[in-house]
């Protein structure tokens, strides 16, 4: 490993690691596609190509192309060496991604309206250092306008969650 690669590992995820990982995932995905298509039948049937004909070759091409990328990543020089992402730079990314994941979970459980209200307010308090009353007020305003827009104006009902809390206030 060159000096730059070694330094890379301590400051962040190295490009090499990321390339190898992604190429490997692609290969696995391609194999899954090819195998499932083979199961469905990838030959020429009695009245035309079988269901798996097209996807089988798609899977094969994914595997082939990604094997090349994988080999290039393992043995070759990746784009000027260097980092996929620095730990420092990754923090704000995760600061958005992880709450977003929790948000989607919240939506699954308590629906879009309440989930969004909690998410926006929470985001404002934890990452924006707002006070709870202010955060609640703003997120409340957003949610109310979304409700008016979707439920009433567009007549498009949004997901109320596995545990519909809006029922408690009669909506």
């Amino acid at each position: 490993m060159s000096d730059q690669d070694k330094r890379g590992d301590s400051n962040g995820v190295s490009m090499k690691t990321a390339e190898i990982f992604v190429a490997a995932v692609f290969v696995i995905f391609g194999l899954a596609v090819a195998i499932d298509s083979y199961r469905l039948g990838a030959q020429w049937g009695t009245d035309g190509p079988q269901s798996g004909y097209f996807p089988f070759y798609i899977g094969v091409m994914i595997v082939a192309a990604s094997l090349v990328t994988l080999v290039q990543a393992v043995f070759g020089k990746t784009q000027g060496g260097g980092l996929f992402v620095e730990w420092q730079a990754l923090k704000p990314v995760l600061a958005v991604l992880i709450p977003a994941a929790f948000y989607v979970l919240a939506v699954q459980l308590i629906g879009i309206y309440i989930g969004s209200a909690v998410y926006i307010a929470g985001f404002m308090v934890w990452l924006g250092n707002y006070t709870w009353p202010k955060a609640a007020a703003i997120s409340g305003a957003v949610i109310v306008s979304l409700y008016l827009m979707f439920e009433i104006w567009f007549q498009v009902p949004l997901f109320k969650g596995s545990y519909d809390l809006l029922q408690l206030i009669g909506l």
Partner: protein, 497 residues
């Protein structure tokens, strides 16, 4: 001339109060979307698409295309004032636009950008007016094999002409096809690639992919730079506008060149982003003041903006006439047409004259209305970005989630959106191109359908793709493009010897 008659008929379709209101709403929404990071042109249209299900298709496409216009214009605002490109195709505008703003010439830069956009789009729309019917008429002769060969050409040109690793392009594209194949096979009814998970019967919707890849992915990427929205203020008054308009005719050659580059890149699968970069590069090389590019040259704003808008607009030509979108946003619009039950392609010009010409007429009006809106309301739009990040970021994500949900009323789609967001982030960083994946996802089913039909016609003989001059020519060209990277290396080596 037949086209002019049809165009006037189209104007009659557009100039109803309902459609005009939708046009204005679309433009304003589009500019707001263009200004906000994470809600790009393709993404914004994708989110608002399900809301148009209850409208008549003509009105819906007018509003959606005006959103597209607005986003094209809006991207320039943040590029110039905040040095933050609101859209990928506004990156090149920051090179000279932001320095101009720093020198207190923001109004001049903005006027220059908007006017160039207007000109670029206008040229492209005129081209569409006269060229699209011709292409459509020509394409009426197409059979399944011909259509498949055109799809093949599109995808091979991505591999052959794209910068970056052709292997990655191939993998990304095949991923799109693979995702398109998930679900029920319309011909045989068997379930493909669902691995026993009944939720996957619906397959992956390209709208979810677009919202995730271009929306969430974009946000995650911009997080790395950190986001501080401290921008230059901009005041545009009539005097600045008129002064800039007096300066602009000097750059007519740059403008013309950029229009041509833009139109070409829009029709071929390139899109607005490569067009803007290419145009900037060419202008820099060919201009008298080329060396001063990057320090705040008006010409450096004119070139990319003209090209980007010309490309964004002309991407709609192959979409309408052939059913092949020239850009991810055109791909989303194509998907919309399919959802409304319209068949994009040559038959559209024959069977849905109102729709097509209404759309084309709305492009003229939308372009003009957009120019007026942005020239008058820039401070308002710029103010949006002064909303603190901790409020606007979750709101954008909420809007994306709602957009993802309303496509199929499926909670699972929101999870997929998140997954696509991570994929978008990783792919962008590793240079796996997203456009071929999106196009493959949108066109995958139709490409397969045409392939199967062609194979049925020929009883399994691949020779059908060379059976006549037209399809043989296109297929041959596709193969040349596919192997171009290899061919050009061989040619270079032969020449070297």
């Amino acid at each position: 001339m037949e086209e002019i008659n049809a165009l006037f008929h189209g104007f009659a379709v557009v100039l109803t109060p309902f459609n005009l209101v939708l046009m204005m709403v679309g433009i304003v929404l589009g500019v707001i979307i263009g200004v906000l990071p994470g809600l790009g042109g393709a993404n914004g249209v994708a989110i608002l698409l399900p809301l148009t299900f209850t409208m008549p298709p003509t009105s819906a496409i007018i509003m959606l295309s005006c959103i597209y216009w607005g986003a094209l214009f809006g991207g320039a605002i943040t590029s110039i004032l905040f040095n933050i490109p609101g859209e990928p195709w506004s990156v090149a505008t920051t090179f000279d636009g932001y320095p101009m703003a720093q020198q207190g010439r923001a109004g001049e830069a903005l006027t220059g950008a908007f006017t160039s956009s207007f000109v670029g789009a206008l040229v492209a729309v005129v081209m569409i007016t006269f060229l699209a019917p011709l292409v459509a008429r020509f394409a009426l002769q197409f059979g399944s094999a011909e259509f498949f060969s055109v799809y093949l050409l599109t995808f091979c040109s991505f591999i052959g002409m794209g910068k970056g690793s052709p292997w990655k392009t191939l993998a990304s594209m095949m991923l799109g096809f693979g995702l398109a194949a998930v679900g029920m096979d319309t011909v045989t009814g068997s379930l493909r690639l669902t691995f026993g998970w009944s939720e996957l019967m619906r397959g992956f919707d390209f709208l979810i992919a677009v919202i995730g890849l271009f929306g969430i992915g974009e946000i995650l990427l911009s997080m790395e730079e950190g986001l501080s929205f401290s921008g230059k203020s901009a005041k545009i008054d009539t005097r600045i506008v008129l002064d800039t308009w007096k300066k602009l005719p000097k750059y007519w050659l740059t403008s013309l060149r950029s229009c041509l580059i833009g139109c070409w890149m829009g029709i071929t699968p390139g899109g607005a982003t490569p067009a803007s970069f290419m145009s900037y590069g060419v202008a820099k090389r060919m201009s008298r003041d080329g060396r001063k590019f990057g320090t705040g040259q008006l010409e450096g704003v004119v070139a990319p903006e003209t090209a980007a808008h010309a490309a964004g607009t002309s991407a709609l030509l192959p979409m309408l006439a052939l059913g092949i979108p020239g850009s991810p946003t055109a791909a989303v619009l194509l998907g919309g047409l399919l959802i409304w039950g319209l068949q994009p392609g040559p038959l559209l010009f024959v069977e849905q004259k109102d729709f097509v010409w209404g759309l084309i007429a709305s492009m003229y009006l939308g372009n003009l209305a957009g120019l007026i809106v942005v020239l008058t309301c820039v401070p308002l739009f710029a103010a949006i970005l002064r909303i603190p990040f901790s409020i606007i970021a979750p709101v954008i994500i909420v809007i994306c989630a709602i957009g993802a949900y309303t496509v199929h009323n499926a909670m699972l789609d929101i999870w997929f959106m998140l997954l696509f967001g991570i994929i978008g982030y990783v792919f962008k960083k590793l240079d796996y191109p997203l456009a071929p994946m999106v196009l493959a996802l949108v066109l995958g089913d139709r490409a397969e359908e045409n392939f199967r039909r062609a194979m049925l016609d020929s009883q399994g003989n691949l020779g059908i793709f060379f059976s006549n001059g037209l399809v043989g020519g296109i297929t041959a060209l596709s193969l040349v493009l596919l192997f171009w990277p290899l061919l050009s290396k061989l040619i270079a080596r032969a020449r070297g010897n």
